[in-house]
Each structure stands twice: as C-alpha cells, then as structure tokens.
C-alpha cells in the first residue's frame, strides 16, 4: 500500500521535473564527456615526456619550457596581447559611453534602434563580417596606402563592443537612479555625479565588460585570419598553422596556458558581475 503511493508520488515528481525524464541523465553525461574529455586529454598530454600526443610515457614540463622559448609562439602571443589589450580598452570605452546614453538619458526617438544596432554584430555570422571588413579595409588601404596592425586592432575593437556593452548596460540598469539624483541634490555637478557616484558603482560592470572583450579578442580566429596582414599572426592563428603541420605537445602546452588564462578571466567576470545590490537594504 505504502509502496504503491510512493511510486505514485515519484511519478508525479517525474512528470513535473524535466531532470527526471527517462534518458536525460545519459544525455547529460554524454554531453559533459564530449565537452570536457578532449580538454582533459589536451591538458594531460601537454605534460607528456614523449613526443606523441596519444601514447603516455611519463610526466614532464619540457613542452612548456620549449613553448616558452619558441620565438614563433613568443611573437604571436605578444601580437595577440597587444591587439587584445588595445581593443579591450577602446571597445570598453565606447561600450561604456553607449551604455550611459541608452540608460541615463530620457528616452529619445530611435533609442531602441540604437540598442539593436549595437547588439546586431552578435547576430551576423562572423565570416560575413570578416569578408566585409577585408574588402572594406582593402579599399581604404588602396586609397590611402596606409597599412599596419591598426586595421586588425580596429576590427577587433568593433566586434568587441557588443560584448563589452552587455554587462555594462546590465549593471547600469540595475543601479538605482535615485543615487545619482541624491548626488545632484547634494550640489554635485553632472561631471561630479558621474565621477563620484555613477562610475564607482558601475565599475564592476565595466570590468566584466573589459574582460569579456579581452577574451573575445584573444580567442578570435576568423576575423584575424581575414584581416590580419603578414607578420600579424595572433596566437590562435599560430596554433592553427602549427596543427596543419602535425600536432606536437608544444601546441598542447600553449593551449593549456591559454585555457588557464581564460578560466581565470571568466571566474573574475563571474565574481565582478555578480548582482550586488546597489540599493541600501530597506527595513520593513
């Protein structure tokens, strides 16, 4: 009797909760396995003493030392860093300004369209942007004779803006407008309101946005491949080139370092971006 009612109870629970649909747990485990097993293997074999990336012999950090001294990797990493840092600073600045205009001014005609235009690059296939940018830059280069890494940095800045914009805007929308009004009420000019209240309070959003922009830039392949000129090989492009010639654990080592940096940044974004109330707690 009690057994019967127990199963009935379970049935009800299963019906309500998607997690308990038959087969779902297998799918979950399979997905997690496909996602993370390759990464684990990559990390594992970066510590392999052997040259092979499939046969394990013993633990060593040789490949890291080798990668560190590889001039190709060095210069690719430096280019990636240069492009990412400049693109991060510029895109975050523009994104901050855009977020301020779209949250801190009275609604104006075309405001929703501006927001859509800022976010649109996220919707356009990257290959389309890449080809379009390549052609566009080719025209400019031909007309002006200009050249150099500035073009790559510009392209990165542009596609990083929507990524930086999202967390900044979210943060601003979460901030109570009355704080800025209180500052104005206490004789702060608009500039001082921004410096003393808006900026410090929106900083977590700005930092998340900046880090997101950095990761997206460092990670980019398609646009860098199309837009980057000779001598502008970023790290992902270098790795891609190496793999064409056969994988060595050196590539594993570089990728692992890359992964480590990404994980650290994503964790930081998560920590900064956590919704922390900007309103003083109200008592009842």
């Amino acid at each position: 009797m009690s057994d019967l009612s127990n199963t009935a109870h379970n049935k009800v629970r299963q019906a309500k909760d998607l997690k308990y649909q038959p087969g779902f747990s297998y799918i979950t485990w399979l997905a997690l396995f496909i996602l993370y097993a390759p990464i684990l293997i990559l990390v594992l074999y970066s510590f392999n003493a052997n040259r092979s990336v499939v046969v394990w012999t013993s633990f060593s950090t040789d490949w890291y030392v080798k990668a560190w001294h590889n001039e190709g990797i060095q210069s690719a990493a430096l280019i990636s860093l240069e492009v990412a840092v400049i693109a991060m600073v510029l895109s975050t600045t523009f994104a901050t300004m855009a977020a301020l205009v779209t949250t801190r001014t009275p609604p104006y005609k075309g405001m929703n369209i501006s927001i859509a235009i800022i976010n649109q690059p996220l919707m356009i296939p990257e290959i389309v942007t890449a080809v379009a940018t390549l052609i566009f830059f080719a025209v400019i280069k031909k007309a002006t004779g200009a050249n150099g890494i500035g073009f790559l940095i510009t392209a990165h800045t542009v596609f990083c803006i929507p990524f930086a914009y999202m967390p900044i805007r979210a943060r601003l929308e979460d901030m109570d407008l009355s704080l800025e009004q209180a500052a104005a009420d206490l004789y702060a000019s608009p500039l001082m309101v921004f410096k003393r209240v808006t900026l410090p309070l929106m900083m977590p959003g700005v930092l998340s946005g900046a880090m997101l922009a950095f990761i997206v830039s460092v990670d980019d392949v398609v646009i860098s491949l199309f837009v980057g000129g000779p001598g502008e090989t970023t790290l992902p492009l270098y790795i891609l080139g190496q793999i064409r010639r056969g994988v060595t654990p050196e590539v594993n080592a570089v990728s692992t370092v890359f992964l480590g940096i990404s994980v650290i940044l994503v964790t930081l974004i998560f920590l900064f971006g956590r919704p922390k109330s900007t309103r003083p707690e109200k008592s009842q």
Partner: protein, 367 residues
C-alpha cells in the same frame, strides 16, 4: 492667519505638472497648486498614494520642470535652475544612501561638493553625527546599518550642507511603529534645533497632525485645504478632507439660515443646531453634508436638543469606548467616549439613548 511680515521660504504659484504630452493623454500629477510655505515652518503634504506629493517635492528639488507655473525659493525664481544649484536638500523615500561610501563619507558629500575646506567638513560631520545620535557609527558601511540608522544618516547627510529648505519624502514609512514614533519626535527636535524649513510628505494623517505647523491635504494633484492641524481637523472644508483625517460622521442636513460664517442646520432627524460654514467658499444653501467628530458627541439625560438613537455596537479601545448608534433616520453615527475614571455611565447594546452635540461641532462641507 499668518502675518505679512513672515518670510516665505517656498512659494508655489499656480503650478501644474503633466507627465506625458497633454492633459488628455498624460498624467496630471500636480494640478494648479499654489502654496506659500513660511520660513522655519514644519509644513506637511498629506494625501493618499498617487496624489502627487512626490512630484511636488521633485518640482521643488529640480528633478522635474513644471509644465506651468513658477516656484520661488526665498523670493528667487527657480525656473531652469538644475538641482545642484538649489539650496534645497532631500531625504529620499528609500534614503538613496551611497552604498560605496561610509556613513561619514555620505554625510560629507554635500559639503565637499560645496567646496568647503577639510577641517570645517570634519567638524560639521561630527556635529551632524552628534545631532542624529550616532557618532560611534561614523566608519560603518551603509549596508551594515539598520533601517532606523540609515534613516538618521539620510537626515544627517541632507542637513549637513545647511540647506534653506529640507524636503522629506515619507522618510518614516519604512520604519516599524515604535521606531516611527521615536523618529517623529526626533524630526521635530531637529527642526527646532536647526531652524530649517521642513517640507514633509506623508500619507499618515496622525503623523501629519502631530508633527506639523501646517498641513496641506492633497487629492488627485490638487491641494484641497491648507491650515494648522487643529483647523484642518476641526473644520474640514470638504468631505474628502473630513474623511481622510481622523474618524468622522457625515450626515445629511439642510441649511436653514446663513450669515457671516454662522449658520443653522437642520439634520434629517429633525435636530437643529449651529453649524460652521467652510472658509473661503461662496454661497451654499439647501441640502448639504455636515461633519461631526465622534468625540464631540456625548450622552445626555435630556430629550431636549438631542438626537435619539439605539446603540448597535460598543468597542473598547483602551483609553475609551467607541459606540455605533443608529439614529431614527436609519443613519449610523459614531460616538467616542474617553474613560475618565469610572464616572462614565455604562450603556449596553440595544439601549435607547439621547445624544448631545458639543458647541461648534457641526461643520458644513462643500461636497
């Protein structure tokens, strides 16, 4: 009446604020309001939710611009002056304290913005902390404070720059009953000590009556009546004001003679008594509503000039008794009896009684 010699701190002249495009499609939050608030006054805006109290404060503070009309601060026109150029400070409804600053940084903010020197600021901040009785909490972060403490910080922050007028938007509504009572007398004390004009917003009529020098009762964006608490309580001009402030009986009656504010009114039950006409209202005649406070009624042994009725319900409320009495006309009337010793006659439900009306207790209402 106030003397002409007293200075007006805030003058609101025929001011209207419409959110949206126009009267028809938008919201008329403040509707042709005129007010004169005197220097050093504790002035209260009282009214139900949505009647435009906050909007009126925001117009004075400069967060909104009037659609029509003008506002003067000590005779100086405020049109076009942004909030940071007005010597008016606000205590916000939910305090709006800066969460990234300590208590003393919050309090010193306004002073810093005014460019006052550091030593002076430090002195003022500690004086303010003293004033709101929390000097030991100077270095606390805002989220480490209780609601009542936040309230005090908000007050100290707004008072520190010594504004000409302090606006308080329901500053006590978030506090529990006991703390609210405490803060009410605290606010009164602060206003006396600082001599700053307070414009206080509340929807709590008792709070308004106990704290204010004068009260303005608002409804749907309009100011219905302005006066000392006693005047507004004893002589409400309109049915809304009478109903909103305190407990009151509204009865039908007929004006039988009027001259110079004095009138005689005949109630539906046949009772005839002296009545007071609303101030500043033109001719009224015929059938009107009249208001009588429950505490202005008492039991009488005489059948002469009294209202006969039957007791329907008796409620004990601590300091006295509350009776619901049905009149011969079918109307129900409330009578409140303060228990003074044990001398009060005890009545019980169903008993027939005669009710006497105190002098000047019958107030004629406009509608």
């Amino acid at each position: 009446m106030l003397e002409k010699a007293t200075r007006s701190a805030i003058e609101v002249r025929s001011t209207t604020k419409i959110y949206g495009n126009d009267r028809a499609s938008g919201v008329v939050a403040v509707d042709d309001v005129s007010l004169e608030i005197t220097d050093n006054e504790f002035f209260t805006l009282l009214g139900p939710s949505g009647c435009g109290k906050t909007t009126l404060l925001r117009l004075i503070a400069g967060f909104e611009q009037p659609t029509q009309g003008e506002i003067l601060l000590f005779g100086e026109h405020l049109e076009g002056l942004p909030p940071h150029n007005r010597s008016v400070n606000t205590v916000f409804q939910h305090y709006a304290l800066f969460p990234h600053m300590t208590v003393s940084q919050n309090i010193s903010f306004g002073l810093e913005m005014l460019g006052i020197d550091k030593i002076e600021i430090r002195k003022t901040v500690s004086r303010m902390l003293e004033l709101v009785q929390m000097p030991q909490l100077a270095d606390r972060k805002i989220n480490q404070l209780s609601g009542g403490q936040q309230q005090r910080v908000a007050l100290a922050r707004a008072l520190a720059p010594n504004p000409k007028v302090l606006l308080l938007d329901e500053p006590l509504s978030a506090l529990d009953f006991k703390l609210r009572k405490e803060m009410q007398s605290e606010l009164k004390r602060l206003q006396n000590e600082t001599g700053i004009t307070f414009i206080f917003v509340t929807h709590d009529q008792e709070e308004a009556l106990t704290m204010s020098d004068r009260v303005a009762v608002m409804k749907d964006g309009q100011v219905l009546q302005v006066g000392k608490p006693r005047e507004v309580y004893d002589h409400p001009a309109q049915r809304f004001v009478a109903d909103f402030i305190g407990d009151i009986n509204i009865l039908r009656g007929e004006l039988i003679s009027t001259k110079k504010g004095e009138a005689k009114v005949k109630l539906a039950s046949g009772f005839v008594g002296d009545a007071i006409l609303p101030i500043g209202v033109g001719d009224i005649s015929g059938v009107v509503n009249v208001a009588i406070r429950p505490e202005q009624l008492s039991f009488s042994n005489s059948t002469n000039s009294t209202l006969p009725g039957i007791i329907k319900e008796i409620t004990y409320f601590g300091s006295g008794l509350h009776y619901e009495i049905e009149l011969s006309t079918g109307e129900t009337i409330k009578l409140r009896q303060q228990s003074v010793g044990r001398s009060n006659t005890e009545f019980s439900s169903g008993e027939t009684v005669n009710i006497a009306v105190a002098d000047d207790a019958i107030q004629v209402l406009v509608d």
